[in-house]
């Protein structure tokens, strides 16, 4: 995650954002993929609506995270839920899901969620700041953008537990590759829906047997 933040910081400066704008984007949106996409589109002077739409598409997974976490957070008051929504990321979601799946009293687990999320927030912002300071001085031969893909591998592996998970991941990968030509990162959305459908299909077949 830290190399990912560093790369996001480097990308913001490379896109022509000022250091203040780069930090504002990071603190306000707190999402590496949204930051990278927004930087790419700002760099080519896209209309504001296109930039916002593209960042929304890659952030659709947050709706799914939000829906998955909502039952665990329903007993909290509005301020707590507003705060936890702000610090929700791929990593803090993954940690929260593991944590809420553990047996025992779940009423005070939001403190644990907040603690891990705030830790992630602080280290993320520090990594982005380091990337902004380093700016364009990092040679491209280091291929630091690959570190981004590796962070997603580290997130993907633990969530593939059943045959249905594996089927969903394989089909989503294939569709993502073949739909790669679609504009505005739509391939990600199409591939995700295909993966979900296949996961549900495999699960339904297993239950009938």
């Amino acid at each position: 995650m830290l190399p990912f933040g560093f790369v996001a910081g480097v990308a913001a400066i490379g896109a022509g954002l000022t250091p203040l704008q780069g930090m504002a984007l990071s603190v306000l949106s707190f999402s590496g993929i949204a930051q990278l996409i927004a930087s790419q589109l700002i760099a080519v002077d896209s209309p504001v609506a296109v930039t916002v739409a593209a960042a929304s598409v890659v952030s659709l997974r947050f709706v799914m995270y939000s829906a998955a976490l909502a039952p665990h957070l329903a007993h909290l008051d509005r301020r707590w839920r507003a705060l936890l929504a702000y610090v929700m990321t791929d990593q803090s979601f993954a940690l929260a899901v593991q944590h809420y799946a553990a047996p025992g009293d779940a009423r005070h687990r939001h403190w644990h969620f907040l603690g891990s999320a705030v830790t992630l927030f602080v280290s993320w912002q520090a990594a982005v700041l380091a990337g902004i300071v380093a700016g364009a001085q990092v040679p491209t031969t280091w291929s630091l953008d690959f570190a981004v893909v590796l962070t997603f591998i580290a997130l993907l592996v633990p969530v593939v537990r059943t045959r249905a998970d594996l089927g969903a991941a394989v089909v989503a990968s294939a569709v993502a590759l073949f739909a790669a030509g679609l504009p505005y990162r739509l391939a990600l959305v199409v591939a995700s829906i295909a993966g979900i459908a296949v996961g549900l299909g495999i699960e339904a077949r297993h239950q009938r047997r």
Binding site: Q21, A67, A68, A70, S143, I153, L156, A172, S173
Partner: protein, 107 residues
């Protein structure tokens, strides 16, 4: 000014998507089918991000030995399955990539 508008727009969009169900919708009204579909969101979305990052080079599928990314990615996947460690996933993947790039450059 336009850049600031884009930043604020992206910030508002990402927040509203995160807040959607946590803040605005009643989780007890979700249909069972919808909750089951949620189980397959992380493997699907994450795979849809990883696969193009490993296999697409300038928008085209490249499964040859000249594309070090999918090989380094495969190394990282194997290491992650064995160790479940984020640090190991990143260190093995980056080391494999740099080694392959060096080897490809040397030949």
């Amino acid at each position: 000014m336009k850049t600031w508008l884009a930043i604020l727009g992206v910030a508002a969009a990402t927040y509203l998507l995160r807040a959607s169900f946590v803040l605005f919708a009643d989780p007890h009204r979700f249909p069972h089918r919808f909750r089951q579909a949620l189980l397959y969101v992380p493997p699907s979305v994450l795979a849809a991000i990883v696969a193009p990052g490993l296999l697409l080079v300038d928008g085209a599928l490249d499964l040859s030995l000249h594309n070090p990314r999918w090989i380094a990615g495969a190394v990282s996947i194997v290491v992650t399955v064995r160790t479940r460690s984020v640090i190991a996933a990143m260190a093995s993947g980056m080391a494999a990539l740099w080694l392959l790039q060096w080897a490809l450059g040397a030949t």
